[in-house]
């Protein structure tokens, strides 16, 4: 799955993206995702991975910089362009974000634009909903009329995924798709990410903490640390990297040692130079 080929046609470009809430979250992120590529974004909690994902479709507006999706500037154009970008992009939320008051069927219909539903007719819309559920290994007859509250965590994630793919997007953004799932369900969701990419040829951007899983299905991996990209490269490069932060993420033992050093540094007045400066393969460098 992983390839050493460099990105060709850009599908998503983050250009100097800055965002500050109480503290800076993103500090000038430049990243390009190629058409059809699967890129995983990893990094410590609270380093702006989900914020970066949300800037792609205007759910969070950056303070500075721009995002270009399929050649269209999300922040340099009007609301009609943003609406068009949102039609091209599917977003899988961390906790599925299913609408509690709607059945699975109604939830999935939300993934089809109203105009398309009208032109398809009820039967065809239902067929697409069922196909999307089957695409994520769910039996439509069992779940179609259930409410999200009646589903397990793994099933909710898969319904969220089905709601995203029913509209046949060109790009799918996954926000921690396996967080909170047991290993079996995590592996199932990861298989689905791979299968959706193969079947639909979509560009995928996956924010995850599951490094091992991500290394198995992504073409490239990016490490975000304190609002900046600390590494971008192929899984093979990620494994070979000697950057302490990357090593910490690639290996549990190194992670344990790294966290001890990090805590030690913080207790002595801040992080040490050794892991602050350990940036390699930084994008656009």
């Amino acid at each position: 799955m992983a390839t050493d080929a460099l990105p060709t046609t850009p599908m998503i470009e983050y250009r100097d993206v800055h965002k500050t809430f109480d503290l800076p979250v993103l500090s000038g992120v430049d990243l390009t995702v190629a058409d059809g590529e699967t890129l995983a974004i990893v990094g410590p909690s609270g380093t702006g991975k989900s914020v970066l994902l949300k800037t792609t479709i205007g759910l969070i507006v950056p303070d500075r910089g721009d995002v270009i999706v399929d050649g269209q500037s999300v922040y340099g154009s009007g609301p009609s362009v943003l609406a068009e970008v949102r039609r091209k992009v599917g977003y899988v939320f961390q906790n599925a974000a299913l609408f509690d008051s709607m059945t699975v069927h109604e939830n999935l219909l939300q993934g089809l634009p109203d105009a398309l539903q009208k032109s398809l007719g009820r039967k065809e819309a239902l067929r697409r909903v069922c196909a999307a559920l089957e695409g994520v290994n769910l039996e439509p007859g069992h779940v179609l009329n259930k409410f999200p509250g009646e589903l397990s965590g793994g099933m909710r994630k898969r319904v969220g995924l089905a709601r995203t793919i029913v509209g046949e997007p060109r790009i799918i953004l996954y926000d921690e798709p396996v967080t909170g799932l047991d290993p079996v369900n995590s592996a199932a969701v990861e298989r689905l990410i791979r299968r959706i990419r193969e079947r639909m040829g979509v560009t995928s951007l996956v924010v995850t903490h599951d490094i091992e899983g991500a290394l198995g299905y992504c073409d490239r991996i990016a490490l975000l640390d304190r609002g900046k990209l600390a590494f971008v490269g192929t899984p093979a490069e990620f494994r070979r990297s000697h950057t302490p932060m990357v090593m910490a993420f690639a290996d549990r033992t190194a992670a344990a040692n790294f966290s001890v050093r990090m805590l030690d540094d913080e207790s002595h007045g801040g992080p040490s130079e050794s892991w602050q400066n350990g940036v390699e393969n930084a994008p656009d460098a």
């Binding site: 949102r86 992009v89 977003y91 939320f93 974000a97 609408f99 509690d100 939300q110 993934g111 509209g167």
Partner: protein
């Protein structure tokens, strides 16, 4: 000396923060109302969603409105009976009950019921949707939460509230009449005579104007506060409490503005 500086500056800072917060809320509410108007004008609001909300706001509030209206009629009638015994003709009770219920008690108590039953629910519901990313999901799916969530609730409030207040007026009036008969033996004819004595048709219009205003204000504030919610379950609790306080103050302030504007 620094503490002295802080002492002098802090009231101004407090005032400034208050003004900033008020301006933000005013701006947010104005935007919400504008976007709701646009959604209605462009036919983006589903009639089915409005009817569902009108059922939740109106029909499901009827039992509680019945209780408050009945009790307000009974209490007004009994207090008037107590005050008028021996000095003022008892048929005046009919006038006092009618005016009190129609001009004041029915609209305000129904608004309070609406705040507790509907306003708090709307804020908690939308707040939960906000913190669980369901609102973000709507945007991500290319849908606007204003026509889908806000507009049906606001329109339902405007439709349901005058009906509820009209109903509360009738129930309060009847309860006052029955209470006057049972407690001081005032007959129906005498009660109706007193009620007609100071009656103006304008009073009913005034009552329904209040109803429309409160029926608009309560859902607008509750939707606005719900969409502003941040910070998990605690944030939902905080915004629901703030919303209820905000709605009660808004209703009472507007209630105080009605007499100088419409009764002179």
């Amino acid at each position: 000396m620094r503490w002295l500086g802080n002492l002098i500056v802090s009231p101004f800072a407090f005032f400034g923060r208050g003004c900033e917060s008020a301006a933000k809320h005013a701006g947010g509410i104005a935007l919400l109302v504008g976007r709701t108007g646009k959604a209605l004008a462009t036919g983006q609001v589903s009639a089915r969603a409005v009817l569902n909300q009108a059922y939740a706001v109106g029909v499901q509030s009827l039992p509680l409105v019945t209780v408050t209206a009945t009790l307000s009629g009974i209490v007004t009638s009994q207090q008037s009976s107590y005050q008028f015994t021996g000095s003022i003709p008892l048929y005046i009770i009919g006038s006092v009950v009618t005016s009190s219920v129609i001009l004041e008690l029915a609209p305000v108590l129904t608004a309070i019921v609406l705040i507790g039953r509907v306003g708090a629910r709307i804020t908690a519901e939308l707040g939960t949707m906000q913190v669980s990313e369901q609102i973000d999901a709507l945007y991500a799916l290319g849908r606007d939460p204003i026509p889908a969530l806000a507009a049906p609730r606001i329109v339902a409030g405007i439709i349901a509230m005058p009906i509820l207040v009209g109903y509360a007026n009738g129930v309060g009036f009847l309860a006052g009449m029955i209470a006057a008969r049972l407690t001081v033996g005032l007959g129906t004819e005498a009660f109706l005579y007193g009620a007609r004595m100071f009656w103006h048709n304008w009073d009913m219009f005034y009552s329904l104007m209040k109803a429309v205003t409160f029926g608009f204000t309560v859902p607008v504030i509750s939707v606005h506060m719900g969409l502003l919610t941040r910070g998990g379950a605690e944030g939902v609790g905080r915004s629901t409490t703030s919303s209820v306080v905000f709605m009660i103050i808004a209703v009472l302030v507007m209630d105080a503005l009605f007499p100088p504007l419409l009764l002179n």
